[in-house]
């Protein structure tokens, strides 16, 4: 099963990826194709927007790690926004937050990204 999601939005050169509600193995295709689209578009920054996410599993974390690894190789920046307190804690425990900036919401991320 793959979860389809809306096409990537581009705001001032940042690719904004609105993540599907469930970030686990079902989101693999959606996540990878969103990153590929952003890369093709030439965006230097990809913002993962967690506003609609209500379930994140360890498989989902592995997907994000995979995207982050590719972005580092490609010289791209990954940021995240709108994580719930619980998932922010998980980003801290897994140290993902050491490798990607986490913003409160999308607009904060876009402002921060322009700095």
């Amino acid at each position: 099963m793959t979860t389809e999601m809306n096409a990537v939005r581009y705001v001032d050169g940042t690719a904004v990826v609105d993540l599907p509600p469930q970030i686990d193995s079902t989101a693999e295709h959606a996540l990878n194709s969103a990153y590929a689209a952003a890369a093709e578009h030439g965006s230097k920054t990809v913002l993962l927007n967690f506003a609609g996410v209500d379930f994140l599993s360890s498989t989902g974390i592995a997907l994000i790690v995979g995207i982050l690894a590719r972005a580092r190789k490609d010289g791209r920046t990954i940021t995240a926004a709108a994580l719930s307190d619980h998932y922010r804690e998980i980003f801290e425990i897994t140290r993902l937050s050491d490798f990607m900036t986490i913003y409160g919401d999308e607009s904060a991320a876009l402002k921060g990204g322009k700095k």
Binding site: M1, S58, A62, L68, D85, H86, I90, F99
Partner: protein, 529 residues
């Protein structure tokens, strides 16, 4: 031979067919061969004669001691042409007297034999189609009956287990393909007592299911009124004896439990004896009595025992003990008794028995009879465990989330703050995922068992899979740098997450199972980590 006899009833007449379709000419004057169907016994010597392939046979010239020949002669048959298809006699072409009253000529015979040779395959095809249709109808009728029997059975088995504080209750029922008449029931009685019923109706299918439904409703009516188990069985026996079809009877064990004291009064109408485990010892609960519906005026022995803290009772039907392996050896009561002494309680006990049965019978086993198991365990001591929820989910994608949601619903009000509640949810879904993928290898037939319980101020979610053998590894901190540099796979976060989400993570591995226990201490605050 059934088809032969049926075939030979079809007598094909020769004659002026217009006679029957023209009302102006009285039928009685026609020369149509009008005969009753002729049955030919499978051992009639004429069959060998027809089989010999001699072609058309003039009946009057036959000198055989054959009832069929006599019957054919009496019916006015003069000439018989066997219809043979693939060397098999499939019918006869019977001819009466010629209209001209002359004998059949050699030309006539040749013509008829040619006709028979050409007609035979067509007749055979028609027969096969007809047999096929009859078979399909018969199969459909049997399937329909089985569906009805299953429906009745399911309708009258309890949908939920009784909620008894201080007791753990589990029940299992698996119908045989033929649907036996097993049943069990829990009946609420006055003063907080609980009636326990297990029974088995002789026979299978719809009749057994109907008797089961009747027995159950009489029990349900009489149990709260009479209470005393012996009296209840007496009453049910009187009722059934009047109404039950001949040669049918019902074995039934009925017990009344006082959950506060553990007192158990019971009476038995010829049913298999329940096992009780006290410490390491396993005993049978004996009481005598005839099956219900066998004869009127029966009296039933009433006995009493007490189930103390930690004691376990198992009620069962003969479907388990009387299962056979490939060498026709029986599973048997001694084996059950041995298992009862070694296994756990509740669902663990039931699963342990069924797992052992699967090992005993091998994979190709076709279940011979219904299997019913009902077990109650009294919690050990005052600081005993209170089970909030116990369930199973199949090892299919998405089950991890279902497990998480069911656990979340039941622990919503036990006193975890929001932060720790979310942590437990993540730990539960991760542990369920591991059980599905690593323990059960995503085999939908293998369930993941989940039990949520509170002991004192400790909340425990226990997740069991059918993995076993290989220990669950220690949770290690993943090397994120190596993963980001592409030196390691991105996966491998599950156990690490679980360990960081709960107060205590305990794992046990046996030959057949993995057990993961997630512990949260109630009353602690979700401090930042």
């Amino acid at each position: 031979m059934m088809t032969l006899t049926r075939t030979f009833r079809r007598v094909i007449g020769r004659g002026d067919t217009t006679a029957t379709s023209t009302p102006a000419r009285p039928a009685s004057r026609s020369r149509v061969l009008e005969t009753a169907p002729i049955d030919i016994a499978p051992n009639d010597p004429i069959l060998a004669y027809f089989h010999a392939g001699s072609g058309a046979v003039a009946i009057d010239e036959l000198h055989l001691d054959s009832p069929a020949v006599t019957a054919l002669r009496a019916a006015g048959v003069k000439l018989v042409v066997p219809l043979i298809s693939q060397g098999e006699l499939i019918g006869l072409l019977n001819l009466g007297r010629r209209l001209s009253d002359q004998d059949y000529s050699a030309d006539d015979r040749r013509l008829l034999e040619k006709l028979a040779a050409q007609a035979s395959p067509a007749v055979r095809v028609a027969q096969l189609v007809r047999e096929q249709e009859a078979e399909v109808r018969a199969r459909e009728r049997i399937n329909q009956e089985l569906r009805v029997a299953q429906l009745i059975q399911q309708q009258f088995l309890p949908k939920t287990l009784p909620d008894l504080p201080g007791w753990q209750v589990a029940a299992f029922y698996r119908a045989a393909a033929e649907v036996g008449g097993d049943f069990y029931d829990f009946i609420d009685l006055p003063d907080g007592k609980l009636g326990l019923v297990i029974g088995d109706v002789s026979g299978h299918g719809v009749p057994a299911a109907l008797v089961m439904a009747t027995t159950r409703s009489v029990l349900r009516t009489e149990a709260p009124r009479l209470v005393a188990p012996g009296r209840v069985l007496e009453r049910v026996n009187e009722f059934l004896d009047a109404d039950i079809p001949q040669n049918m009877f019902v074995t039934c064990l009925y017990a009344v439990l006082d959950p506060r004291t553990g007192a158990l009064r019971y009476a038995n109408a010829g049913h298999d004896l329940p096992f009780v485990r006290r410490g390491a010892a396993v005993e049978e609960l004996r009481a005598t009595g005839m099956p219900l519906g066998a004869m009127p005026g029966m009296r039933y022995d009433e006995r009493e025992t007490t189930l103390g803290p930690g004691d376990v009772i198992l009620l069962h039907s003969d479907g388990l003990a009387e299962a056979h392996d490939t060498t026709r050896a029986m599973f048997g009561f001694p084996r059950m008794r041995g298992l009862m002494g070694r296994l756990g309680i509740g669902v663990d006990l039931i699963d342990g028995l069924m797992d052992d049965l699967a090992r005993f019978t091998g994979p190709a086993w076709e279940q011979e009879d219904d299997i019913t198991l009902v077990t109650l365990a009294r919690s050990a001591g005052v600081s005993g465990e209170h089970v909030l929820l116990e369930f199973r989910e199949p090892s299919v994608p998405g089950s991890e989330r279902k497990v998480m949601e069911r656990v979340a619903a039941v622990v919503a009000n036990v006193g975890l703050d929001a932060k720790r509640y979310e942590r437990l949810k993540t730990a539960v879904s991760e542990a369920a995922m591991n059980a599905i993928e690593h323990g059960n290898h995503s085999d939908p037939e293998l369930p993941v068992h989940v039990r949520v319980s509170v002991t004192g101020d400790e909340l425990m979610v226990r997740i069991v899979d059918n993995g076993g053998g290989k220990e669950i590894p220690e949770a290690e901190t993943p090397d994120l740098e190596a993963k980001l540099a592409g030196l390691q796979k991105p996966r491998g976060w599950g156990l690490f997450l679980i360990k960081n989400m709960v107060d205590d993570l305990r794992t046990h591995t046996t030959e057949t199972h993995h057990t993961v226990e997630l512990v949260m201490r109630l009353g602690e605050k979700g401090a930042d980590r």
